[in-house]
């Protein structure tokens, strides 16, 4: 594993990984604003699906997104506690996840394209699959994920 790692490290991309409904997802570090605790969420009556609510992150209003719902997973047994903060068009969003994982450093060579038979909704979001020791990590294109959010909200 380490043989090419050092040489390629400069070209390697960092990913923030998180577990959601038994799957591991990875988002490019460059896209992640910060990771924070989901607490004191205010639910917004009449809000579109996919939105858990809003919260205050050091004076900024963050829209907490129900990532499970957006990706078509069943509702979790307990409320999510962690979120990945992503800034988009001047607004801060929090993608709720079940658990945060380590930062993954990956080189393009280690990645494989998303399998053909993946659910269409996922195939639009997942750009590649990274093999890890114990599990597969799905690399997520943040922009496309948000397209999913808007289409869900518009529906």
């Amino acid at each position: 594993m380490t043989k090419t790692r050092n040489a390629l490290l400069d070209e390697a991309d960092g990913f923030v990984t998180a577990r959601l409904a038994g799957h591991w997802f990875a988002l490019p570090i460059s896209a992640v604003h910060e990771v924070f605790l989901l607490s004191r969420i205010t639910t917004v009556p009449q809000s579109p699906p996919g939105i858990i609510g809003v919260l205050n992150l050091r004076g900024r209003i963050v829209t907490a997104l129900d990532t499970r719902q957006i990706l078509g997973f069943p509702r979790a047994s307990k409320a999510p506690t962690m979120a990945i903060g992503i800034e988009r068009q001047g607004e801060l969003f929090g993608l709720a996840v079940d658990e945060m994982g380590d930062v993954l450093t990956s080189v393009a060579a280690d990645r494989e394209p998303a399998p053909m038979n993946l659910d269409r909704r996922w195939r639009e979001i997942v750009t590649g699959v990274q093999r890890s020791e114990s599990h597969l990590v799905l690399i997520v294109a943040v922009d496309r994920l948000f397209d999913g959010v808007t289409s869900l909200a518009a529906a």
Partner: protein, 894 residues
């Protein structure tokens, strides 16, 4: 005058700025190897200055700018950039600055003098072959000594302009060598100008600077965050004992407050800025329409947030234009009305209760309540019934409906029905409101209530269903505690919660229901409504002319909140106008009263609650009944017991089916027959009309009317019988005359599938029925029923008249007569009729108001075949059918 000053001040600031740029660019130009874009910019700057000066009537400045522009044009078209040229330009800049200063100190007039020397230099610059070429086809000497002055400026030396000016002859242009001035004049000249400039124009430079709006916005955001952090800290420290921290916090708090104030003040602008264009608009409108109008503006210095100012600029303009156009009459009308010929529009701005109030008043004709009402009904915004119940204030609020215009004529200025709705939405978008007061013939006053700033507002923090919400305090008129047995309690009228407050019935909107909070429904998923047992608080809210109560569980406190825009994904929720962060760090939603109002109240609901109110009253007075008042065919009010009406619908005749003279309309998945008063309606009419759906014996029919007027609770006492079909008679209802409708008549029409009793009924004319009744009311009640049943009624108003007809050869199949008649009563008539031989077998039916055993016995004795109550329409029809059937058979047999 004020307006001009503002304009001038703006011009001076703008031009000073532009000249600074020209200055800098000119200097840069000297070292610029690729001057094209720079020359373009210079050209543009001079062009702008020229334009504005021309507009403001400043010929000297305009002239200078013009020649400078010409030079720039020549240079950018390829002429070499020479030192001369740059110098000449710099002199122009200096001269323009001087003139600008003089204009500012004189209040708008240019000083005397001329600038021919400078102009000459401009004209000659670049054309002088001997001049040093800075950039040109061959850029040999980029570092030309600047000391080598372009001498052309010599004739314009020091300050006393007028004296120096005449020096260059008009022929100057012709001079081949423009270097006649040996003295190094320009420098001193420029210097000499300087002090003057400082003295006059310098003032504005030092006292204010221009900062980009973006910077201010950012500052505001940061301060808002600071305020929030301070609030949060205060919240945390509330339970803290250590005084040392408290002191520091106190200081922080004060400083933060001051900072907030200071930053806010940078955003403040006098409202006069938004008024600047108004005199011109008024002048134009006046000239256009041949009016004379005086515009008075008070409180122009009242300051408000620039963002707010921007938002109300257009609405203000629109309203002033409206006042000038629709509000004020033409001079002849004014004189006729005993008013001065000159119309008056008054603007007034002032602070009140943390808000800015802007009034736009005129002394014109005022709003025409009737016309607005009629228009509202015509446009289907309100039913006549609703409109008649409304206060003038509510009726005026219709002018804010989209596309609503009562202007009889569309003028070039206004009256196209666009505007007031836009005005309202603009004002509401910034959390303001608009009200109108008007007295017909005396004028109107529009009052804008606008927040001082958009960023911070005072709000009530309320709790519903365990959630907190903020409600802008400016929209809350009153706060009432409701509890069973308390001073105020909620009452239910047909499932609609209402509250009595100051003799007015307030519809209650339960925030829980509007927002569909978890407790809006009970465990079975059924909607839960507030009722008598509800405890909580009702905020009396006025939104768009409608007062309603917003029910919440608790009112926690008032707080100054910093408004945060909602995330995009949540902006479509009309109930909220924004969000805010509370002192404890939680985010809560700011409820938008206008959004709640439009989300919860539909016109039909409004009328429902009106009807419900009447119904409630009816319970109190049981001998009364609820009557729906409406108009149809005529202007008379018509009344119909509400108990007979199944539903009120609003239909468009174009949706009706018409076949064989029979009209049907779709209602509840079935086609029901339509009936109406008077002549048949226009089948192609797109107009929507109220339809009273009535059901009887499982059959429904719809009575088409023109408008619903009211719902009245009264005792029906028919006093004057009516001549008209379908109308029982007249009664005093609700203190005024009204016609009571004969539902049976219409039911008869519909159930027999006849439409217009006078035209389309297939009446068997051989089956004549003689009707004798002295009362026109009952004659008209019975005759149509008879006709509706397919018989030909022959109507007589007295026994004598009937006998005449019979003797003249009339052979009715049945004779129906009233028994109580003057002169010849029913019995006498019957006896007389029986004497006519050929009529011996004709059945005689007695009609009477009293149906007693006695009377029946008497009738039998008198030779009557049947005896029927006047009001028993069906009995009569049955009886007639009975008598005509065997009769007809007998005739056939014969």
């Amino acid at each position: 005058m004020d307006g001009i000053d503002e304009l001038l001040a703006e011009f001076i600031t703008d031009t000073q700025e532009a000249l600074e740029q020209v200055d800098v660019r000119l200097v840069e130009l000297e070292h610029e190897p690729e001057p094209a874009s720079m020359l373009n910019e210079l050209f543009r700057l001079m062009h702008t200055i020229k334009g504005t000066c021309g507009f403001l009537g400043l010929p000297r400045m305009a002239g200078l700018a013009h020649h400078a522009e010409t030079l720039m044009d020549r240079l950018r078209n390829g002429e070499p950039v020479t030192n001369d040229a740059i110098d000449a330009m710099l002199h122009v800049v200096d001269r323009l600055k001087y003139l600008l200063g003089a204009i500012e100190s004189s209040g708008g007039t240019e000083p005397e003098g001329n600038d021919e020397s400078i102009i000459l230099a401009l004209q000659q610059a670049g054309s002088d072959a001997s001049a040093e070429v800075l950039h040109g086809p061959d850029d040999a000497q980029p570092e030309v000594a600047v000391e080598e002055e372009a001498a052309a400026d010599a004739p314009a030396p020091a300050a006393p302009e007028p004296a120096a000016a005449p020096a260059p002859a008009p022929k100057a242009e012709a001079k081949p060598a423009p270097k006649p001035a040996p003295k190094p004049a320009p420098k001193p000249a420029a210097k000499a100008d300087k002090p003057e400039e400082k003295a006059s124009g310098g003032e504005s430079e030092s006292s204010s600077i221009r900062v980009s709006v973006e910077t201010l916005e950012h500052l505001m955001t940061v301060v808002s965050e600071l305020v929030l952090t301070r609030n949060e800290l205060t919240e945390i420290m509330r339970n803290e004992e250590r005084t040392s921290h408290k002191l520091a916090l106190q200081r922080l708090s004060t400083v933060t407050g001051e900072l907030q104030q200071a930053v806010m003040s940078t955003r403040m602008q006098p409202i006069g800025n938004a008024w600047r264009k108004l005199p011109r608009i008024v002048r134009d409108v006046a000239a256009n329409l041949g009016k004379t109008i005086e515009l008075e503006m008070n409180g122009a210095q009242t300051e408000l947030d620039r963002q707010v100012l921007e938002s109300i600029k257009d609405p203000l303009m629109h309203m002033v234009r409206n006042a000038a156009d629709h509000g004020l009459e033409i001079p002849s009308e004014r004189l006729a009305a005993g008013k001065p010929e000159k119309g008056h529009i008054k603007l007034n701005a002032y602070h009140e209760g943390g808000q800015i109030l802007v009034e736009i008043g005129d002394d014109g004709r005022g709003l025409n309540v009737d016309r607005i009402k009629a228009k509202a009904v015509e446009r289907g915004i309100a039913t006549q019934e609703d409109a008649d119940r409304m206060t003038n204030e509510q009726i005026f609020s219709f002018i804010f409906e989209p596309g609503f215009s009562t202007a009889a004529q569309v003028t070039s200025v206004s009256g196209r029905g666009v505007g007031m709705d836009v005005v309202q939405s603009n004002v509401e978008r910034i959390g303001g409101s608009i009200d109108v007061r008007s007295v017909q013939g005396q004028g109107s006053v529009f009052t804008l209530k606008i927040p001082l700033t958009l960023a911070i507002l005072r709000a009530l923090i309320v709790g519903v269903d365990g959630e907190d919400f903020a409600i802008p305090q400016t929209s809350v008129d009153e706060l009432l505690k409701v509890e069973p047995g308390g001073a105020h309690s909620i009452q239910l009228i047909k499932d609609s919660p209402v509250l009595r407050s100051r003799d007015r019935l307030l519809p209650i909107v339960d925030l829980r229901t509007v927002l569909q909070l978890p407790t809006a429904t009970d465990e079975n998923g059924m909607p839960r409504t507030a009722d008598e047992s509800t405890e909580g608080f009702v905020m009396v809210i006025r939104a768009r002319g409608l007062r309603f109560g917003m029910l919440v569980d608790s009112v926690l406190r008032t707080e100054e909140i910093v408004v945060k825009p909602l995330p995009h994904a949540l902006r479509n929720i009309e109930h909220f106008s924004g969000s805010t962060i509370l002192g404890d760090g939680r985010v809560i939603m700011i409820v938008d009263p206008n959004g709640v109002r439009s989300a919860s109240a539909t016109p039909s609901e409004a009328s429902m609650s009106a009807a419900a109110q009447e119904e409630e009253d009816a319970i109190a007075a049981e001998d009364k009944q609820l009557l729906l008042m409406f108009r149809a065919a005529t202007q008379n009010r018509k009344a119909l017991p509400i108990s007979l009406i199944t539903r009120l619908e609003d239909v468009c005749l174009a949706d009706a089916d018409q076949s064989e003279g029979q009209w049907h309309i779709q209602y509840n998945n079935e086609l029901i027959p339509l009936v109406w008063f008077g002549g048949p309606p226009d089948p192609d009419s797109k107009e929507r009309k109220p339809l009273l759906v009535m059901s009887d014996d499982g059959k429904s029919m719809g009575l088409l009317v023109d408008e619903i007027v009211d719902i009245v609770d009264d005792v029906v006492d028919v006093q004057i019988p009516s001549e008209q079909p379908g109308i029982l008679g007249s009664a005093i209802i609700g203190g005024a005359h009204a016609e009571v409708i004969d539902v049976g008549y219409f039911l008869g029409l519909a159930s027999n599938h006849w439409f217009d009793p006078h035209q389309r009924v297939k009446v068997d004319e051989t089956v004549k029925i003689l009707l004798v009744d002295d009362s026109p009311f009952f004659r008209n009640l019975v005759a149509p029923v008879v006709r509706a049943a397919g018989f030909e009624p022959v109507v007589c108003s007295s026994g004598a008249q009937a006998l005449d007809k019979l003797q003249a050869g009339l052979h009715p199949k049945v004779i129906v007569t009233d028994v109580d008649m003057p002169e010849m009563d029913g019995f006498e008539f019957a006896a007389a009729a029986r004497k006519i031989d050929r009529l011996k077998s004709v059945p005689l039916v007695a009609l009477t108001g009293m149906l007693t055993d006695d009377a029946i016995a008497k009738a039998r004795e008198g030779g009557f075949s049947d005896y029927i109550s006047k009001l028993d329409r069906n009995g009569l029809i049955d009886s007639l059918r009975e008598f005509t059937k065997p009769d007809a058979q007998r005739e056939k047999a014969a």
